[in-house]
């Protein structure tokens, strides 16, 4: 069930990605996807270690769901977020920021089984999500400055 739900979510996200107008270059999108994936993998490892969680070992479907989650859904959501905050009016940008923060937190709340941080409270989640989004925006800004790609982040 959990695997099917994650595949459906990923499918919906890919559909969303294919439909929208892309204001970033392919290199920038690949960079954002990979760097956010790296950050998430490091975060998942570090938190798993810090919390010293006593979760039961994952079954193969659960593990595949985690993989889709960590290396597909969340990085693609980050790319969609960066695409959404591009070249819009200031109030729309703010709305997009709040909306994506809500989406991230709601998603993490639903999927907290996979993130192994059941004991953490929502303010930490919220702070973590804000820091994560700002960090990825900063990274992509640096990358955009380095390349001759158009599009501000």
């Amino acid at each position: 069930m959990i695997l099917a739900a994650n595949i459906c979510l990923l499918w919906a996200e890919i559909g969303w990605f294919l439909c929208i107008r892309k204001s970033l270059s392919s290199k920038q999108m690949l960079f954002v996807f990979m760097s956010s994936s790296i950050v998430l993998m490091l975060l998942f490892n570090a938190t798993g270690l810090l919390m010293n969680s006593d979760h039961k070992p994952y079954s193969v479907p659960e593990f595949l769901a985690l993989l889709i989650n960590r290396n597909g859904i969340l990085p693609l959501l980050t790319v969609l977020y960066l695409l959404a905050v591009q070249n819009r009016k200031i109030w729309r940008r703010r709305f997009t920021n709040v909306l994506f923060l809500f989406i991230f937190d709601a998603y993490l709340f639903i999927e907290k089984h996979f993130v192994q941080m059941d004991t953490l409270s929502w303010p930490i989640w919220l702070t973590g999500s804000i820091l994560y989004l700002f960090f990825i925006r900063f990274l992509s800004y640096v990358f955009a400055q380095m390349s001759d790609c158009n599009g501000e982040v």
């Binding site: 960079f31 990979m34 270690l49 001759d148």
Partner: protein
């Protein structure tokens, strides 16, 4: 042969040496890509390594452990950095090849063998410890997959004519002259 030391074990020394040599070579080689392309290449190398380590190294598969501890520690994170320059060297070699399908096929195959060889060296150095009957040559399909994917990325994102050696410096000096 293991060198046990309170400060650095043989595997940790190996990681530091490879990182130093790899990134020094990356900076010393004549530039053929822009800074953004170079950074992307390094990120691609780190990403693939981290991804497969996070898949094969943990439950339910648990095929090997990295360095001295079964969980991820700082040396494991450092060891991921080793792979960044190699992706750059792979792209660098691609840009020097005559663009034929046979050349790309041979190039990927040779790199896969080189990857297996370097994994063997890392295993001897104590970076990898295989578990659950995992054999070194099981990694070959993974290398083939990763290198083919990297080649596809190169063909789509990097191929727009790579700079000739020294061209980047010439462009910069021209720009500074005009400004």
């Amino acid at each position: 042969m293991r060198m046990h030391n309170d400060l650095l074990n043989y595997n940790e020394l190996f990681i530091l040496i490879i990182i130093f040599v790899g990134y020094t070579l990356l900076f010393l080689l004549p530039k053929r890509f822009s800074r953004a392309q170079t950074l992307l290449a390094v990120i691609i190398g780190i990403y693939f390594d981290l991804f497969f380590d996070n898949v094969l190294c943990v439950q339910p598969f648990n095929f090997y452990t990295i360095n001295d501890t079964p969980h991820f520690d700082q040396w494991d994170y450092l060891s991921q950095l080793m792979f960044g320059p190699f992706a750059y060297f792979f792209f660098y070699g691609c840009s020097m090849l005559r663009q034929t399908r046979w050349n790309y096929f041979t190039y990927t195959a040779v790199w896969s063998l080189f990857a297996i060889f370097s994994e063997a060296v890392s295993w001897h150095a104590g970076v990898y410890h295989y578990l659950n009957n995992y054999q070194m040559f099981y990694s070959l399909p993974i290398y083939l997959f990763v290198l083919t994917l990297s080649l596809i990325i190169y063909l789509f994102l990097y191929r727009d004519p790579p700079l000739k050696i020294g061209q980047l410096e010439k462009n910069k000096s021209k720009q500074s002259e005009t400004s």
